[in-house]
């Protein structure tokens, strides 16, 4: 079992340092913007001056996570990102194309590598432990989670794990060119501390996370996921019957229908209408799930059932399926 000791999200919703945000959360409107905290509270001006959105969000969330616990130095820092540091990548590309003669400023090149996020976090925390960055487009967060669990299985006690992606304007043009009109592309970062020990008397744990790349069928992946989850939890049975809520994302109409069929009778909510679209928005879904389970009142989306178990189904990329199972720990 992997206990959630802390969770922190910066997004287009009022999620940051706002416990029970799930109770009043509403669908994103088209003019939504990233809601940024005062970063100076979390990052020194010397570091902040170079940081793009994705770095600021990730570092602030990470610092916030640690402030929620007594942990000074996690045993590992694991990050997932789909497209990495786009703003700096674009800046450097602009420079190399427009500066024909003469020197090119190096800062944006340095800041453009995918692992700058995990690297900056380790710098701020002065952490010398395992430091990893997963970049498997829409499954990057699920892979980061699996890696974090591996670290815990190998003897670690606490892992800082999260994911982030940032929006830049050119993505809107590209999305339209590919044929996705009216997509709400957003930015977001979600970080968590997962632990083997329940030091904070945490009420929530993540049971299992898995990624199915180029998967064959929904039902095949689900079956595999549930049977893999059983021995992990010492339960005798886990199936759809024991799930209270499914949070899913998909861009395909036919998949929406498939999900509705497969999960007949269950509460199904499309989390993208809350997070907007970015590669690693399943991390937002995890925080949403945690918040729903923790709130106790369970007013999310007008539902009033007493929820115990939530399944997150990430089919944002139609070829890939990410699955995360979250549960409220028994008292």
């Amino acid at each position: 079992m992997y206990f959630i000791q802390a969770a922190s999200t910066i997004s287009h919703q009022p999620t940051f340092k706002n416990k029970s945000f799930s109770e009043n959360i509403s669908t994103l409107n088209t003019a939504s913007e990233l809601l940024s905290p005062d970063y100076k509270k979390y990052i020194t001006p010397v570091m902040l001056r170079r940081m793009s959105k994705i770095l600021r969000m990730s570092v602030a969330c990470s610092v916030d996570c640690l402030e929620q616990t007594d942990i000074k130095s996690p045993d590992a820092i694991v990050v997932g990102t789909g497209l990495g540091c786009l703003d700096d990548t674009e800046k450097f590309l602009n420079n190399i194309i427009s500066i024909k003669e003469g020197l090119i400023p190096p800062t944006s090149f340095i800041q453009s590598t995918h692992n700058t996020i995990a690297g900056q976090i380790s710098l701020i925390l002065q952490n010398h432990n395992y430091n990893m960055t997963h970049t498997q487009n829409t499954l990057s967060f699920e892979h980061a989670l699996q890696d974090a669990f591996l670290c815990l299985d190998e003897g670690g006690e606490n892992v800082l794990v999260g994911a982030a992606d940032e929006h830049i304007e050119i993505l809107d043009d590209i999305a339209e060119e590919i044929g996705y009109k009216n997509m709400q592309l957003t930015s977001g970062a979600s970080f968590f501390i997962v632990s083997t020990k329940n030091n904070k008397n945490s009420k929530i744990c993540v049971l299992n996370a898995a990624s199915y790349g180029l998967f064959n069928s929904f039902s095949e992946s689900l079956e595999d996921f549930f049977s893999a989850s059983i021995p992990l939890l010492g339960k005798s049975k886990i199936d759809l019957g024991t799930i209270d809520l499914i949070l899913f994302s998909t861009l395909q109409e036919k998949t929406k229908n498939e999900i509705a069929d497969l999960f007949k009778g269950k509460s199904i909510v499309d989390y993208e209408k809350y997070s907007g679209t970015y590669f690693t928005n399943s991390a937002f879904a995890l925080h949403l799930a945690i918040d729903i389970l923790e709130s106790g009142k369970n007013n999310f989306n007008g539902m009033t059932i007493d929820m115990k178990r939530i399944l997150i189904c990430n089919n944002l990329n139609s070829q890939n399926m990410g699955l995360i199972l979250v549960e409220k720990v028994e008292a």
Binding site: T44, P45, V46, L48, R49, R50, G102, L103, I104, P105, P106, T107, I110
Partner: protein, 84 residues
């Protein structure tokens, strides 16, 4: 010379993205590195770019930067001194 130093300070603030720093915060003779500004080796490279962009001066060996960029004074002196 005074306006050169003032220009330099403005350019440095811009090139290094020192958002909260004013021209009046930078003393002419204070060390730029290892001092209050918190500049590092990446900034040293950015200053080399600055020298070339604004003053047409090329520094090809980054080690040389240590002396040139010691302070605003040393930078101004380097810019105005005749080069072989």
């Amino acid at each position: 010379m005074t306006s050169l130093k003032e220009d330099l300070k403005k350019q440095i603030i811009e090139q290094l993205n020192l958002e909260d720093v004013q021209v009046s915060d930078i003393q002419d003779d204070a060390p730029l590195f290892g001092g209050g500004l918190g500049l590092d080796s990446i900034d040293a490279l950015e200053l080399i770019v600055l020298l070339e962009k604004h003053y047409g001066i090329k520094i090809t060996n980054p080690e040389k930067g240590k002396d040139v960029f010691y302070s605003i004074n040393s930078m101004a002196e380097y810019i105005t001194s005749p080069k072989g």
